[in-house]
């Protein structure tokens, strides 16, 4: 069986009231069971929450189709919901329940047999760091603890796909780090697909493998972050000191393409899997000393800004790049 996308949208239109919120989104996100995290980005009002709620079956598409793990979100809603966990953005909890009761009930509602639901409730609460507070009522939890409890209820039943809506909102730095670490564990150690909807680009960049950027209800960019990172590692700016006349030709022998923009200044496109140490060795062989070596790397912020139309290109092809000191090496 070919790998199934975690989420598949086909010309998805969603109208709430008389206003169309999502205008024909089509894409395939993630791969079911691959443990990939997908970042859902966009400014306020872009339609991120509407898209998530459509995937959960809260809103019906006015036309088009949304499939999660191969099941139609409307026609096979129950089968979809059996397989996913959802952590809402809003502070949702049942104040009068203890942590264990809350997770036991949520787990049992998701299909865990009763005795296993209780066991998993304890296990998950320890996992997210609420083990000591598990017999306290949720009403007495701090905001950060409630956030963790919401994450716990989303994963207690071991879903294939977890949807996290603004998971790090309102968390202090330590709690935020903990939350991101838990998300990373969910995908890397437990093979869950994760959708992270967040305004915080740094958070998405840390944990996500691909991003989808929405603007005004339309998908304006879909990027595989890992591939982009790999791709960007190929572009290098180099400044050398010494007689560099034969350097461009020598680069070609290594399979790299280099252009001398000004005396001693090269822009180079490296082949895939090129080890940077070969470039250093070549410069040394040619009797050149490297003054500056800049490896371009689009940050997610740049990808986002470009997608939003706020940035035409990576600023100066260098300003946004990660400068690597010649002395610091690579």
């Amino acid at each position: 069986m070919p790998p199934q996308p975690a989420v598949e949208l086909e010309d998805l239109h969603v109208t709430l009231g008389r206003r169309e919120i999502l205008h024909g989104i089509s894409c395939r996100l993630g791969i079911s069971g691959s443990g990939r995290a997908i970042g859902l980005l966009g400014p306020n009002g872009a339609g991120k929450s509407t898209l998530i709620r459509t995937l959960l079956g809260f809103h019906a598409p006015s036309s088009g189709r949304a499939r999660v793990l191969g099941f139609d979100c409307q026609k096979e809603r129950r089968r979809v919901l059996e397989r996913i966990g959802y952590m809402p953005e809003t502070d949702s909890f049942i104040a009068s329940m203890t942590g264990v009761e809350f997770l036991r009930v949520m787990g049992a509602l998701s299909g865990l047999p009763e005795e296993i639901a209780l066991e998993k409730a304890h296990e998950t609460l320890f996992h997210v760091g609420l083990g000591e507070a598990r017999y306290r009522t949720l009403g007495t939890y701090s905001l950060g603890m409630r956030q963790l409890a919401r994450l716990a209820q989303a994963i207690v039943h071991g879903p294939e796909l977890v949807i996290l809506d603004e998971p790090t909102n309102g968390l202090d730095p330590a709690a935020r780090r903990r939350m991101l670490e838990l998300i990373r564990q969910m995908k890397d150690e437990h093979g869950m697909s994760v959708i992270v909807c967040s305004h915080l680009l740094a958070d998405v960049e840390q944990v996500c493998d691909e991003v989808m950027i929405l603007k005004d209800g339309r998908m304006i960019h879909h990027a595989d972050l890992e591939a982009e990172r790999r791709e960007n590692r190929r572009f290098v700016e180099l400044e050398v000191e010494g007689e560099s006349a034969g350097f461009a030709a020598a680069l070609a022998e290594l399979g790299a393409a280099g252009v001398e923009e000004a005396p001693g200044r090269f822009r180079i496109v490296l082949p895939l899997d090129f080890e940077m140490v070969r470039l250093w060795k070549l410069a040394a062989d040619q009797g050149l000393s490297i003054r500056r070596l800049t490896q371009r790397r689009d940050t997610l912020e740049e990808i986002f800004m470009k997608a939003m139309g706020l940035l035409r290109q990576t600023p100066g092809e260098a300003a946004s790049s990660r400068e690597v000191s010649a002395h610091g090496g690579l």
Binding site: F58, Y86, V105, L109
Partner: protein, 286 residues
């Protein structure tokens, strides 16, 4: 191995069936209800009248206990539709009080902290959620209404002379059906009140108001305007009309089974609509 040492492991075993999953909600709601002492106390108090009725049935079926008394007294001791209608009137008041006490805690705690999104992001629909919550309330009210009523009927049937059961089977049907209608209405009112009113005390007052204030208004409308459509907003009278009709007892003046059924159906529709408007995973502002 201790849970805290084991670490999180994703569950991949067999899942519970849909019905088993659905039963989690009424069970949880019932656990919450039964932990409230005041509900338990009122439930116990609601058993007093059925016990008195049982004593009455016992006395009425032991003629030797009142052999020396006159005929008027013996007529008073008859176990007939009047007896069961009186029983139903008293127990329906208890059921309203129970609904007013227990109902407000059914939905508002989930709504108050936006917990509905957590329920509806699981394989459970809004209708199933409502029915599951209602089931706990229906069971509670059943303990005060048709279950003791049925016990009384069986008691009377077993003590009475042969032929009583055949002649009075409609009483049993009326008792059970009549109380089912009543319990369903009271549960709907309690759930709707719980869904719309956050504060328990006020939500309870709304339940009482629905039955008693609305009935008062209905009577007032009839009296002031000299009309009969006031009965349409009188839940007590509408339910009483259904009870009388099913039991084969004499209908109150100016009331028909049709009017009663229309009235109850209208109320149920309005209450269901109120619940439908409120029980949504997310608010949509368009």
């Amino acid at each position: 191995m201790a849970v805290y040492k084991r670490g999180y492991q994703r569950y991949t075993g067999p899942r519970a069936g849909h019905l088993e999953r659905l039963l989690v909600l009424p069970r949880e709601a019932w656990r919450r209800l039964s932990s409230q002492r005041i509900v338990t106390a009122l439930l116990a108090l609601s058993c007093v009248w059925p016990l008195l009725c049982a004593l009455f049935i016992y006395i009425s079926n032991h003629t030797e206990l009142w052999a020396g008394l006159d005929r008027g007294f013996s007529r008073m001791l008859a176990v007939d539709s009047t007896f069961f209608l009186t029983f139903m009137k008293v127990q329906s008041v208890f059921s309203v009080l129970l609904a007013a006490l227990a109902g407000p805690g059914m939905i508002s705690p989930d709504l108050g902290n936006q917990g509905l999104a957590l329920y509806f992001s699981r394989p459970i629909s809004r209708l199933e959620y409502t029915l599951a919550k209602m089931a706990a309330l229906v069971w509670l009210l059943s303990l005060a209404t048709w279950i003791p009523g049925l016990v009384l009927f069986v008691m009377q049937a077993s003590m009475a002379e042969a032929g009583w059961l055949a002649a009075n089977w409609r009483l049993c049907a009326g008792l059970v059906l009549g109380f089912w209608v009543w319990v369903a209405l009271a549960s709907l009112v309690a759930l709707a009140s719980s869904a719309w009113v956050k504060w328990r005390l006020i939500a309870g007052a709304v339940v009482l108001g629905f039955f008693f204030v609305l009935s008062g208004i209905g009577v007032l409308v009839n009296a002031v305007f000299r009309v009969e459509w006031g009965d349409l907003i009188n839940p007590l009278r509408a339910a009483y009309g259904v009870w009388c009709a099913v039991m084969g007892a004499e209908m109150p003046a100016g009331l028909s089974l049709g009017t009663s059924l229309i009235s109850l159906a209208l109320m149920a529709a309005v209450l269901s609509l109120a619940l439908e408007r409120r029980l949504r995973p997310v608010e949509v502002v368009s």
